[in-house]
């Protein structure tokens, strides 16, 4: 395992090769605060200074153009191309995470990718599809610090071949009030420095638990689909949801459902068929965590 100083020098030089779940990311950046953020969040991951093959070659670079004289900006480069609009320079770290999500969502079609958090217990996965602002990352961050294993807070990767869910075990994206909520909920939480005034407000990234990172090659079988909704003052309520509604919600939240055509339909339908499906309304994290702890493994999920 490299020291953080070594990791930092690789990022600033020819690049560090970071393994996260099925992917090896080759990342480079000369931007000091991005280096600090990346080495904080990815410390403890399998990181090397060289690999013969990387899935994604990415870089964060201070952008050129006349605008640099007005306001410093950062570009996310995917193998030398700049597929996204630049962001203010101090948003380099969130951009690294968003850029990686976009690159994975846009190219890794060996997976059916649903925009959902996913956590696992004893090899069985709970999928949390939800619109942004519903508190799914917060709930995910809470669960993975109370006995669940983090697969991802953002991208649920279904293998097209086996239907199993592959972990990414990357940092979790916390926004606004939830940053403080998780700081209080998780003693000793490792968080990046908050970035203010992003399109999502203030953002901080929470480091994935070490055990989740260590087990990032262990896939899980879908067992529960729980759509969370945080509501101020709401009593914790877990209500069964129809499979049809669940299927539609997963499809709408998928990055590349249409790419997979008929096969994608069958893959999702099969997953929904085996899962117990719920809506979850909550306001207090501890109550939601208790509700999750009480989930029983459906017989159909075991049979898969």
């Amino acid at each position: 395992m490299p020291t953080r100083a070594e990791f930092a020098s690789w990022l600033a030089g020819a690049g560090a090769f970071i393994r996260t779940g099925p992917f090896i990311i080759h990342a480079r950046t000369p931007i000091a605060h991005a280096i600090e953020g990346i080495t904080t969040l990815y410390d403890g991951y399998p990181v090397t200074p060289a690999e013969p093959f990387a899935d994604f070659h990415v870089a964060l670079a201070a952008s050129g153009g006349l605008r640099r004289f007005v306001r410093r900006q950062v570009d996310f480069e995917f193998d030398g191309e700049k597929p996204y609009r630049p962001l203010p320079l101090d948003q380099a770290l969130p951009m690294f995470e968003w850029g990686l999500n976009a690159v994975i969502g846009g190219t890794a079609h060996q997976f059916l990718i649903v925009h959902a958090a996913v956590v696992a217990r004893d090899g069985f996965a709970a999928i949390l599809p939800a619109q942004s602002g519903s508190g799914k990352s917060t709930l995910c961050a809470a669960l993975v610090n109370r006995g669940w294993r983090l697969l991802s807070d953002e991208l649920t990767l279904f293998s097209v071949e086996t239907g199993a869910i592959h972990p990414l075990a990357r940092p979790m994206n916390l926004k606004n009030e939830s940053i403080e909520v998780i700081r209080n909920f998780v003693p000793g939480a490792v968080l990046s420095r908050p970035t203010h005034d992003t399109v999502k407000g203030t953002v901080a990234l929470l480091k994935a638990p070490a055990e989740s990172v260590a087990r990032a090659q262990e896939t899980a079988r879908p067992a529960w689909i729980v759509s969370p909704l945080w509501q101020r003052g709401a009593l914790c309520e877990l209500t069964p949801k129809s499979r049809a509604d669940t299927m539609i919600e997963l499809g709408q939240n998928a990055f590349n459902y249409s790419v997979h055509g008929r096969r994608g339909f069958h893959l999702l339908a099969d997953a929904v068929e085996r899962c117990a499906c719920f809506d979850l309304r909550y306001s207090v994290l501890d109550e939601a965590v208790t509700a999750f702890a009480a989930l029983e493994i459906p017989a159909a999920a075991r049979a898969a």
Binding site: I24, F53, A54, D55, G80, V160, V259, G261
Partner: protein
């Protein structure tokens, strides 16, 4: 380790060499192929020869992902062509061009070919009527400023691209295959006359084989945009290979090139597909083109530039002069398409616009 400058063409030429390449070489190959939109094409070449499973797991995942995407793309293109067929039912002859044509005619060149726009050709006299029909069926012109409107409508061989309001598919409507202002204008009538109707459609056509090849050639060599050079060369290789087996194709091709004034494009297409991809050509055509080369000594300057231009636009394959070569080819491409009195102001304007900061936030 193989030379990164020839890696991609070697892989296209000999897919059987891919599974045994060292991982580091495969890393470069996947990156070059992604950049040039050839990842799915390579995946199909491997799959067709039963070699995909022999590729190491990491790069194989990228080939499989590209193949899955290309399958989706093929479904979408066929759907879109059916929509166009209905939208343009009043037009007895709509000619599909390039990628859409290869897909509709189910040519080898379509296998694993992913593209962004569907190109069609309708008679110039009815182009406004076509635009109205397409608008009535949901395709709308995006935010195009007055300058670009004038650029397209006065000088080019197409109207500004139309995009479907819901599916966001983009249609380029052309009335011929080279701009109005080009040095070698091509009469659209001869193209329409020779076009071939698709058996499963009432009005959709594709260009005759010779015209299809010449269009691909003039698009690459006079278009000035070499980013997709390797992809276009691979198209031409597939077209040459497919149509070359038909009797009379090669004679028709040479005659057609002379008639349309596209002999130089044909010369370059043959030179580069043969040289880089090993495309088989009959000696009669090669003899004609050798005569053409001797009569045109200026080709000696152009060809080394073109050779740089058709390199994959990836840093692994670029030498110190590649950027300059690409820029010269870009300017030359414009020069082929319009006279200097139009070209100079146009390029100056483009250069200035590209360096200005973007407007605050464009309205969608």
């Amino acid at each position: 380790m193989s030379d990164p400058r020839t890696l991609l063409v070697e892989a296209l030429r000999k897919p059987a060499s891919i599974p045994t390449m060292p991982l580091a070489t495969l890393d470069t190959l996947v990156r070059q192929a992604r950049r040039t939109n050839l990842l799915a094409k390579l995946a199909y070449r491997l799959d067709d020869q039963g070699l995909l499973d022999k590729v190491p797991a990491q790069p194989r995942a990228h080939f499989i992902a590209a193949q899955i995407y290309a399958d989706k793309h093929r479904r979408d293109v066929h759907f879109e062509i059916r929509c166009l067929e209905r939208a343009l039912a009043a037009f007895p002859k709509v000619v599909l061009l390039k990628g859409a044509a290869y897909a509709a005619a189910d040519l080898l060149a379509a296998r694993g070919r992913v593209f962004s726009d569907i190109d069609i050709m309708v008679p110039k006299a009815r182009i406004e009527e076509a635009e109205i029909s397409l608008r009535n069926h949901g395709w709308t012109a995006g935010a195009v400023n007055d300058y670009d409107q004038r650029y397209y409508r006065t000088w080019m061989h197409q109207i500004p691209p139309l995009s479907h309001f819901r599916r966001e598919t983009v249609i380029d409507v052309h009335h011929t295959i080279v701009p109005e202002t080009a040095r070698t204008p091509v009469g659209a009538d001869t193209l329409f006359d020779a076009a071939i109707k698709l058996p499963n459609s009432p009005n959709m056509h594709v260009l005759a084989p010779a015209d299809m090849v010449l269009h691909s050639a003039v698009h690459l060599f006079d278009g000035g945009e070499f980013d997709i050079g390797p992809r276009d060369l691979s198209d031409m290789h597939d077209l040459f290979t497919h149509f070359g087996a038909q009797t009379g194709f090669w004679d028709a091709l040479w005659r057609r090139a002379q008639k349309t004034g596209l002999t130089r494009s044909l010369f370059l297409a043959v030179h580069f597909t043969r040289g880089l991809l090993g495309t088989e050509m009959p000696s009669s055509l090669l003899a004609e083109l050798e005569g053409y080369r001797r009569a045109h000594p200026a080709l000696a300057i152009l060809m080394p530039l073109m050779a740089r231009g058709v390199q994959p636009p990836h840093r692994s394959a670029e030498g110190g002069m590649t950027g300059l070569a690409r820029w010269l080819l870009y300017v030359r491409g414009h020069y082929q398409r319009m006279p200097l009195r139009l070209l100079v102001p146009h390029l100056v304007r483009k250069a200035i616009m590209a360096r200005l900061p973007e407007p605050a936030e464009e309205k969608a």
